[in-house]
């Protein structure tokens, strides 16, 4: 399989690229900085004897045509697109600068949608392809933290739902995950709490589920229950969950 991983230089994306390379797939790593992508590509090629390349692109303002040409030229096609990159902001709790707010929406929603849109013809033509997106448990219910981030992730999830509807029966499997807390730099530098898992565990599950059901799922799975409770919590109780 030829897989493109957007956001492959760190955290979940890097772990996912590792699982894919280990399973013998060809991988194209995409993120903003070649200084981080190059070591990942070298490591995976050396350890798994896999074909791993990289391309720089910025989700905040992607040149999607260039990215698509780069991918197709170097890999000669693609079978899977993993939209993993995401951006959070500590200031995202009510009052933030306009540029920062727009950036959150660009990186988490506009950029991903525009890249998917560019690769859609290739994925549809393929006949047996995968489109996988990563959202967040922060998008379960609107809260006073991660307000814009959660909204953008919810928007991305909605787009994936629409894509699933559009691509149904056509051979492109669409999967979306609401990821729980993972031990990556996105969580900051505090000691990881009890709910935090290693990104490798989530990545392994994503690869294992590639042949599995389409649609939305929680990873780790136990977030399903937590999300259900959060969703159903009556307003008088929910409104107190403010920090």
């Amino acid at each position: 399989m030829k897989a493109v991983v957007i956001g492959a230089s760190a955290g979940l994306g890097r772990a996912l690229a590792g699982c894919l390379a280990e399973a013998g797939h060809e991988v194209m790593l995409v993120a903003r900085d070649g200084r981080d992508l190059d070591p990942v590509a070298r490591d995976l090629s050396i350890r798994f004897d896999a074909r791993v390349q990289w391309l720089e692109a910025d989700l905040a303002a992607p040149d999607v045509a260039e990215l698509r040409t780069g991918v197709l030229e170097r890999m000669g096609g693609l079978d899977a697109l993993f939209m993993v990159a995401g951006l959070g902001d500590d200031a995202d709790a009510g009052i933030m600068e306009d540029v920062a707010l727009r950036r959150l929406i660009d990186v988490n929603l506009t950029g991903p949608a525009s890249i998917i849109n560019a690769f859609l013809p290739d994925l549809m033509r393929n006949g047996q392809s995968h489109l996988v997106g990563v959202g967040s448990v922060a998008a379960v219910r609107g809260r006073s933290r991660n307000m814009v981030y959660g909204s953008a992730k919810r928007g991305l999830e909605f787009y994936f739902e629409a894509l699933r509807h559009r691509l149904d029966g056509g051979g492109c499997r669409v999967q979306f995950y609401r990821a729980g807390f993972m031990d990556t730099t996105m969580l900051g530098n505090e000691r990881p709490g009890p709910l935090v898992v290693r990104p490798e565990a989530v990545a392994r599950a994503m690869v294992a589920r590639l042949g599995g059901p389409s649609g939305m799922a929680y990873l780790p799975r136990r977030w399903l229950l937590a999300a259900l409770i959060l969703r159903l919590l009556p307003w008088p109780l929910f409104r107190r969950m403010r920090r």
Binding site: A10, D33, P39, R42, I46, T184, G188, N189
Partner: protein, 437 residues
């Protein structure tokens, strides 16, 4: 970019603690910025002294930079990012028939920590210390950017960085020469000795040829003769692929020991009996178990009292070995202190700057912290100076500046070269401040 978190750091054994900041970056753009205030690189934080943290200092953890950048399976060379652990590296190398020549006994230790500490392995006489196997590295320093160091590029800075306690900046990547890994097991044959002196004699003559050479002693028995075992290990060359390390339990620097130390004289005597019995016969281990003996029993470190333990390792010129041992025995009795561990190893190489390296016999003791232990160690400092010995700076969390100054003729050179490279002294740790750097 993330905000560093406030954190109370301890070194293993609680010998040194400090309230500082912790940050764990994973992208190279981190090193583009000029940090505010003092920083120090951190590997796994497994040093026995406060080498990778300090009061108000920002500890920058390197563990997320852990990739393999280049591997030459023909010549036996590898380039890795400095945050990779010895265990992970072993997992990659062993099935391919290669081995890092010098490895301390715990798989979570990072390659960066090994370079900055110029650590030693199982036979420092035959294999030297870690720095001997480093052919090149990349360093990042806020005032200088990214620098390549090798025998041809800034060799002076390379010399300062190997055994430089992280004070020259962040080691980003390291190129190492490797040793072929024999396929067979490591067969260790214990030789019974009645005293430390007898072991020292054996270590002096059995120097070469062994892949593993050290002695272990019981100092709890009356008379403190130091009866024990000299371990001579050989790696058999059989066409079998070596095992990869099993899962090891993490050593927790923050975990307090048992409230009452088992490591009093009676407790130690019992433990020593058990150890001696366990180790009595010839032992055949796979390469992983022989490389990382501590991986199997991290609990050992929690047996000390709530104060934890302190270690003193000293490098004794061969002709002073007998005198040192006699004086040590006397001091142990005078302070009524019984070491929970006493290990000797023959050393080689040449002394340089602040490195724990050079011809001689290394003797390490570990004791439960307390007033008596501190008094004993103060006397050992004086003894070291008197007999021309040098203490391992990275292992002794209380070693005072005066002792370092008296024992290391390279201290002034180290200081002046460090100041010339970094006049603002951006990198600082509890250790660097304690020894007056």
């Amino acid at each position: 970019m993330t905000v560093p978190a406030r954190r109370l750091f301890h070194c293993l054994g609680f010998g040194e603690s400090a309230l500082g900041w912790r940050e764990s970056p994973d992208r190279y753009r981190f090193f583009d910025r000029m940090p505010q205030g003092a920083c120090i690189p951190m590997g796994a934080g497994l040093s026995l002294a406060g080498a990778s943290f300090g009061e108000g200092v920002r500890s920058v953890e390197m563990r997320r930079f852990d990739r393999i950048l280049d591997f030459d399976p023909v010549q036996g060379a590898i380039t890795v990012e400095a945050g990779i652990t010895l265990g992970r590296l072993f997992e990659f190398l062993a099935p391919r028939g290669w081995l890092v020549a010098v490895q301390p006994g715990y798989p979570d230790i990072t390659v960066g920590g090994c370079v900055a500490g110029n650590v030693h392995g199982k036979n420092p006489l035959a294999h030297g210390c870690f720095g001997r196997w480093v052919t090149a590295l990349e360093l990042a320093h806020p005032a200088h950017g990214r620098l390549r160091l090798s025998a041809d590029e800034r060799p002076d800075l390379l010399e300062l960085t190997i055994g430089g306690f992280g004070l020259t900046g962040w080691i980003l990547s390291v190129t190492l020469r490797l040793l072929p890994l024999p396929g067979g097991p490591v067969v260790t044959e214990p030789v019974k000795v009645d005293s430390l002196e007898q072991a020292a004699e054996i270590l002096a003559v059995r120097k070469d040829g062994a892949d593993l050479l050290y002695s272990w002693h019981d100092l709890a028995m009356p008379g403190r003769s130091g009866a024990g075992l000299v371990f001579v290990g050989r790696h058999l060359d059989e066409p079998k692929v070596a095992a990869i390390p099993g899962r090891c339990r993490a050593l927790d620097q923050d975990r307090r020991a048992l409230p009452v130390g088992v490591m009093n004289r009676a407790g130690i005597a019992v433990l020593n009996r058990m150890q001696a019995w366990r180790w009595r016969g010839t032992k055949s281990q796979d390469a992983a178990a022989a490389t990382f003996p501590f991986a199997a029993n991290p609990e050992y470190f929690y047996l000390y009292g709530r104060n934890g333990f302190i270690e003193h390792q000293t490098l004794i010129p061969w002709d002073m070995a007998e005198a040192y041992i006699a004086r040590l025995r006397h001091l142990l009795d005078r302070h009524s202190v019984t070491p929970g561990l006493c290990v000797m190893k023959p050393f080689g190489g040449a002394p340089c700057l602040l490195r724990f390296e050079g011809d001689g016999l290394s003797l390490a003791i570990e004791v439960a912290r307390g007033r008596a232990a501190l008094a004993l160690f103060a006397d050992l400092d004086a003894l070291d100076v008197e007999l021309g010995c040098r203490a391992n700076i990275l292992k002794d969390a209380r070693l005072p500046a005066a002792a370092v100054a008296a024992q290391y003729s390279g201290l002034e050179t180290f200081r002046s070269r460090l100041l010339a490279f970094d006049p603002d002294r951006l990198m600082q740790s509890s250790l660097s401040r304690r020894i007056g750097l």
